[in-house]
Amino acid sequence: MQFSQRPLTRRGWMQRSMAGCGSLALSALCGSSAAARENTRELPKSHFKPRAKRVIFMFMDGGPSQHDLFDYKPELKKRHGKEGKNEGAILMGPRWKFTQQGESGMWIASELLPHLAQHADKLCVVRSMHTESSAHPLAVPMLHTGAFQSTRPSMGAWVLYGLGSVNESLPGFITINPTRIFGGPSNYGSAFLPSTYQATRIGWIKESLKDVSIDNVSSPGIPAPVVAGQLRLIQSFNQALLERTRAVQDVQGAIDSLGLAVRMQTALPHSMNLSSESPETLAMYGIGEGPTDGFGRQCLLARRFAQAGVRFIQLSLTGWDHHSKIDLLADRCHEIDRPVAALLTDLERQGMLEDTLILWGGEFGRQPEQQALDGGGKDGRNHNADGYTVWLAGGGVRGGLSYGETDPLGYEAVENKVHLHDLHATILHLLGLDHTRLTYHYSGRDFRLTDLYGDVVEDIVA
C-alpha cells in the first residue's frame, strides 16, 4: 500500500478506510461532493440503476431437498416406489403435501412451510439451478466465491468492494453463525481483495446467538470512563501529529478509522441488543420459543443490520443434508418457517423489502430417488448438482414467479437453466453492478466473481 498526497481514487480510498464507510459516508468525510465525484471516477461503472441496496443471504448448509419443498412434480409423486433413472434406484415422491399458494398459484409444500407459503407472491423460486460439483467441500466454496479451484473473494466481499457500505458505525459485511468447515472463513473472506472487504463474524454455526458477541467492543474490567479518557488522548496525539507531519493522508486515515471504531463500539452492541424490540416482534420471529429461537434471532438481527445500512448480511443454518431420515426435514423447516416469514413481513412493513434482496438456498439440491444403493437410507436422498432450487425475494425480483423447469422427475434442470454463475451475475445486476466489469487486478490479470461465465437472468428481474 502506498501513501501519497494525491487525491485518492475510490479504490485506493476503500482499500485504506473501513468497509463500513462507503461512498455516502465518503462524501461526508471528504466534506464536498466534488471530492466524492472525483473519488468515484474509478468505480467499476455500474451503469444500471440498482434495484437492491443490500443482500440478506440465508445459507442452508447441506443442500435442502427441492422435491419436498418447492419443485412440485406430479409425475414423481405418481411414480413413487418405481424404479428411477439409475438402475435399481427407487423413486421417492415428495413426503409432504404441496398446495398452490397466493394469486400466482405457486406450488409450495405448505405443510412444511405454512408461514412462508403465505408470502408466495413475494417469492421468485428458481427451480432450474445447477452448479459444478455435488461434493460439499467443492460446492460450498463454489456457492460463496464462484470458484473451488483456488481461494477467491466471497460474494459479500465483492459486493462490498463494488458498493461500499453506507453505515459509518457498522461493518459493511456481517456473517452470522457461519460454518467452520468446507473452506470455513474463506467463504466470507476477501482472498486477494484488501482485508477491508472480509466479513465481520458473529458466532459460529450452531452457536446460540443469545451468548455470542463481537470481539473487542469493550474490555471487561476496564471502566468505560478510562477507555474514553485514553481514546481522547489518542485523538489529541493524532491531531497534533496531523499538524506536525505532512503525511496527512495516512494520519487522517488513522483518525477517521478511530472515529469509526468509537462509533462501532456503541453501535454494534446496540444493534445486537434485541431488548428494544416489542414482545410482539420477538414472538413473530419465534424468539424465545425453542426450535425457532436460533434462526429467529438471526433473522431479526438481519433486519436490524439491514436497517442500519449493512450491505451484505449472511445467515446460516446447517442440517439440510438428508442422506437418510428425510422426515427430519420437517424439523429444519419448522426452525426457519416463522422466522423467514417474519423477516419478509417486517421488511415489507418497514418499506425495505423493495430494496433488500433476499436469497435462500443451499450449495446444491437432492435427488428424486432414494439413496439406498450408495450408502444412504431408503428414506434419504443423495446430492444433486444438476437440478436444484433457490428462491429470491424483494430487491427487484419478480414475486410469485416459478422460474425454470427440471425434467418431469426432477433429476436435472432442463428449461431456462440457471447456472450458479448466472445467479451470481444476476445478484450483482440487481445491485446495479455489471458482473463483467466488477473486476480486481491481481497477479497479472483481472478477476471477477463470475470468472469468465455468467449471464444475467433478465426474466426474473421485475
Partner: protein, 718 residues
C-alpha cells in the same frame, strides 16, 4: 469437472493495448549496463544509487526534499532492518555519537543482530506462502513445517548467497547427494516446494496434478516473477509461455515427491514420510520406530487374545445354553476346561496389557522432523493435459526442460537419473537469467521504500508494470550477480541518501509526482503486523528474544485443524511474531486484522488497511491489555521521581522521541483523571497508578505514530 485455473478476461481486453510477443518483454532482456549518470546537484549523491535517482529527478525538474532527522532515521532503520523500535539507550548513544560514519555503524550493528534474520525471513516466508497446515476444505496440520521457517531466518542471518539459497530450496536433497553433505539445511530447504496448500482428500491423479501446478506457480512467481500456471490449460496470451513450456516444467515436478507428512485418516489419502533432522536424528528415529513396532506387536497379540477369549466365551455360552442331554458330566468337564483356558488367557492378558502400557509410557524421544522433497524412481517427462485436466493426457511426452523464452546455452538440461530440479535451480540462478536477480533486488527495494522499482513485485510479465528506474534496477541486479549477497545490497540501499530522505512534501513534488514514483521523498509507511505486536511486547518488557523450540503445531500432531481447540492452536506467546504458528485459515487474530497476507498465495506486497476493527483491537484485546499493564508495572518499578519523568519515559519507549509539553500534559491529565476515579467497581484489584499508566500505554499503542513510520518535526522535542 471444470479446470479453469486461468481465465482471459483481462488478457483479451488488453490484447489490443499491448504489443504481443515475448521477445520484447523488458524483464527477459539481458541486464543493462549503464554508466553512473552525471547530475547537476553533484554534492547530493552519497552513492551511485543516489546518482541514478537524482538524474531521474533532475530530468523531471524535481529536487529531493531534505534529509530525515536522526531520530526519524534511527527509528526507520531499526524497524526496516530488525522489525523492532530502537532501544532508548541506543538512541542516546546514537545522538551522542559524533563520528561521521555513525549511521553506517548503526546499520552494521542492526544487520549483524539476530533480529535482522527474523525480520527479513518473514518477507521471504510471505512469498513462499509458508504455513503449518494444508488449508483447503479439509485443513490438516503440518507439524513439521517449522524447520523451514528457522532455515530461512538462519539463511538471512548468515547472509547465505541468494543463488545458493534458491538452489537449496529447489534441490537441497540433490545437492546433498552431489556434495556428500549431511548438512540438515539441505534436507529442510526443499520444504519450500512441499508446504503449499493441498487438497488431501482428492484422488491420486488430481492431487498430484494440483501439487505440481502449485509448485510451478510458487517457483515461477516467487523467484522469476512470472505467472506460468496459466499455461496449464492454454498458451499464455500475453507472456511468451506455452503449454509445452508448462508441461516441460511439470515433468520435473512429476518426477519429484514432496514429503509433507500427514497420516492416513479420514479425508487424508496421501500420507508421506518426513525426514528426521539434527545430530543423531536417524539413530533416534530408528530406535523410536523399532519401539513403535514393539508396541504394534504387543497390540496385535492382545487383539488376538481378545478374539480367542471371545471365542471361548461364545463356546461356553453355547454349551451352557444347550439342553442337558444326560451326559452332564461330560458337559461339565468341557465347561471346566474352557474356564481354565479362559483364566489362563485372562492372566496372560493382564500381563500383556501391562507390557503394552509399559512400552507406551516409555516411548523413546523422537528427533525433530522436517518436510522435504525427494526424487521419484524413473524420472521422465509428461504429456500435455488437455484443458488442464490430468485425466485427459494428449499427444506425445514432453521432455523435461525450462521456459523457452529464456535460452541459456550453457545450462544443462535435466539428466536421465534425476528429476531435474537441480538443473532447474542452476538454470534459474545462471547469470544469463536476468530475472532471478531483478526480482529479488526489487523485492528488497520494495521492503525498504514501501514500493518496488517494479510496482508489481510478483509479476514481471507483460501485465506487470515496467520499472520506474530501469537502469538502477539493473545496476542493483549486477551487484546481486557479483556476490548474491542480500545483506550487502540492503546495506548499500539503507546507507544511500535516497533512503535517508525525509517524508515532508514539496510543492513541486506534489504537483509533478504526487505518487512519489521518482523518490523525491521517503513515502510514509504503516508497520507490518509483526512489528506492531513485537513493539508492544518490547515496550511491555516481556518480549522473549530467544527463539522458541519447534512450533505449537508440532505438539498437536497430525489432525484436522477444525478439531483443535482455538486456545491450543494459538496459546499466549511472548516470542517474536515470526514464530507464531501460521495455520491456514486460523491465523492469530492480530494477523488477520493487520493485513497478514493469505498463506495460500505468493504475496510479495502486503496491503495496509486502516479499519476500525484494528483500533478496537488495540483498545480492548486481552493481549494488548496485558502488554499495557506489564509496561505500566515496568515503568513504575523504575522509581522515577515524578509523573512528568514517567510520561517522558513511556513516550520514548513507545515512540522513540521525547514528548513535547502538550503531549506530556495530555498524558498527565489522563493519569490524574484515572487515578481519581472510583475503582471500587473494577474487577481487578490493582493499584490506581498501575491502572492509570496501563491506560496511558493503551493510548500510546493506539495512536497513529505508534504504527506508522512518519516524519515528525523534531525541533520541539528532544
Amino acid at each position: 469437472m471444470n479446470y479453469p485455473t486461468c481465465y482471459f478476461t483481462a488478457i483479451v481486453l488488453l490484447l489490443a493495448a499491448f504489443p504481443a510477443g515475448g521477445e520484447e518483454l523488458w524483464s527477459l532482456q539481458p541486464l543493462l549496463q549503464e554508466e553512473v549518470p552525471a547530475v547537476r546537484q553533484a554534492d547530493w549523491p552519497t552513492s551511485d544509487l543516489d546518482s541514478f535517482v537524482l538524474a531521474r529527478l533532475e530530468a523531471l525538474e524535481l529536487t529531493p526534499v531534505g534529509d530525515a532527522g536522526p531520530l526519524i532515521i534511527i527509528r526507520r532503520a531499526s524497524f526496516d532492518l530488525t522489525g523492532l523500535p530502537p532501544d532508548p539507550a541506543d538512541v542516546n548513544d546514537y545522538l551522542a555519537d559524533e563520528r561521521p560514519d555513525r549511521f553506517q555503524r548503526l546499520v552494521d550493528r542492526l544487520l549483524a543482530s539476530p533480529q535482522f534474520g527474523e525480520k527479513w525471513a518473514r518477507h521471504w516466508l510471505d512469498v513462499a506462502r509458508f504455513a503449518e497446515s494444508s488449508g483447503k476444505e479439509f485443513n490438516f496440520t503440518y507439524p513439521h513445517a517449522w524447520p523451514y521457517r528457522n532455515y530461512v531466518i538462519e539463511a538471512f542471518n548468515v547472509d547465505k548467497p541468494y543463488d545458493r539459497f534458491l538452489q537449496e530450496q529447489l534441490a537441497g536433497d540433490l545437492l546433498a547427494k552431489e556434495e556428500h553433505s549431511q548438512d540438515k539445511a539441505l534436507k529442510i530447504a526443499p520444504a519450500f516446494l512441499a508446504l503449499g496448500p493441498k487438497r488431501h482428500y482428492a484422488n491420486e491423479t488430481e492431487f498430484r496434478a494440483d501439487v505440481v501446478d502449485e509448485q510451478i506457480d510458487v517457483t515461477m512467481r516467487a523467484v522469476m516473477g512470472l505467472t506460468v500456471s496459466c499455461a496449464r490449460c492454454h498458451d499464455h496470451k500475453m507472456d511468451p509461455i506455452s503449454m509445452r513450456d508448462y508441461y516441460s516444467l511439470a515433468g520435473i515436478f512429476y518426477s519429484s515427491q514432496p514429503l509433507y507428512g500427514t497420516i492416513s485418516q479420514r479425508y487424508s489419502n496421501h500420507p508421506t514420510t518426513v525426514l528426521p533432522i539434527g545430530t543423531g536424528a536417524q539413530a533416534l528415529h530408528n530406535v523410536a520406530e523399532r519401539h513403535e513396532e514393539k508396541i504394534k506387536v504387543a497390540a496385535e497379540e492382545l487383539e488376538k487374545q481378545c478374539t480367542q477369549l471371545d471365542e471361548e466365551r461364545k463356546r461356553l455360552s453355547e454349551i451352557e445354553s444347550q439342553e442337558l442331554d444326560g451326559d452332564s458330566d461330560r458337559q461339565q468337564v468341557e465347561v471346566d476346561s474352557i474356564r481354565v483356558k479362559m483364566a489362563k488367557i485372562e492372566a496372560e492378558n493382564v500381563e500383556l496389557t501391562e507390557h503394552k502400557e509399559q512400552l507406551e509410557s516409555a516411548r523413546p524421544p523422537r528427533p525433530a522432523y522436517t518436510i522435504s522433497m525427494c526424487d521419484r524412481d524413473a524420472p521422465s517427462g509428461t504429456k500435455i493435459a488437455s484443458g488442464g485436466n490430468p485425466t485427459e493426457l494428449v499427444g506425445e511426452e514432453i521432455p523435461r526442460g525450462f521456459l523457452t523464452c529464456l535460452t541459456i546455452d550453457t545450462a544443462a538440461l535435466p539428466s536421465d537419473g534425476q528429476s531435474g530440479r537441480l538443473e532447474l535451480a542452476r538454470w534459474i540462478t545462471h547469470k544469463q537469467n536476468p530475472l532471478a536477480a531483478r526480482v529479488m533486488v526489487n523485492r528488497i527495494w520494495h521492503h525498504l521504500f514501501g514500493r518496488g522499482l517494479v510496482e508489481t513485485v510478483d509479476n514481471f510479465g507483460a501485465l506487470g508494470k515496467p520499472p520506474s528506474h530501469p537502469a538502477l534496477l539493473d545496476r542493483l541486479a549486477w551487484k546481486m550477480h557479483s556476490d548474491w549477497s542480500n545483506k550487502r545490497l540492503i546495506r548499500s540501499i539503507v546507507c544511500s541518501r535516497t533512503y535517508r530522505l525525509g517524508s515532508q512534501v514539496s510543492e513541486a513534488g506534489n504537483q509533478l509526482d504526487a505518487d512519489n514514483r521518482y523518490l523525491w521523498r521517503m513515502s510514509p509507511r504503516r508497520l507490518q503486523v509483526e512489528a506492531i505486536r513485537d513493539s508492544m511486547l518490547l515496550v511491555s518488557g516481556s518480549l522473549d528474544l530467544a527463539p522458541p523450540v519447534g512450533s505449537t503445531v508440532t505438539g498437536l500432531g497430525d489432525r484436522l485443524v477444525r478439531d483443535v481447540e482455538l486456545d491450543l492452536l494459538q496459546p499466549p506467546s511472548n516470542h517474536r511474531s515470526v514464530y507464531l504458528p501460521v495455520v491456514r485459515d486460523y491465523l492469530p487474530k492480530i494477523f488477520e486484522l493487520f493485513d497478514f497476507p493469505s498463506p495460500n498465495l505468493v504475496n510479495g506486497s502486503r496491503t495496509a488497511t486502516a479499519v476500525p476493527t484494528q483500533d478496537l483491537y488495540l483498545q480492548h484485546d486481552p493481549d494488548v491489555i496485558r502488554f499495557a499493564q506489564l509496561a505500566a508495572e515496568r515503568l513504575l518499578s523504575k522509581n522515577q521521581a515524578n509523573n512528568r519523568l514517567r510520561a517522558a519515559t513511556a513516550h520514548r519507549w513507545a515512540l522513540t522521541r521525547t514528548p513535547r509539553e502538550d503531549e506530556i500534559a495530555g498524558i498527565l491529565e489522563l493519569v490524574s483523571q484515572v487515578e481519581k476515579m472510583d475503582q471500587t467497581g473494577a474487577e481487578t484489584k490493582q493499584p490506581a497508578e498501575v491502572i492509570a499508566w496501563s491506560a496511558v500505554f493503551r493510548a500510546l499503542f493506539g495512536c497513529a505514530e505508534f504504527r506508522y513510520l512518519v516524519d515528525v518535526d523534531e525541533s520541539a522535542g528532544s
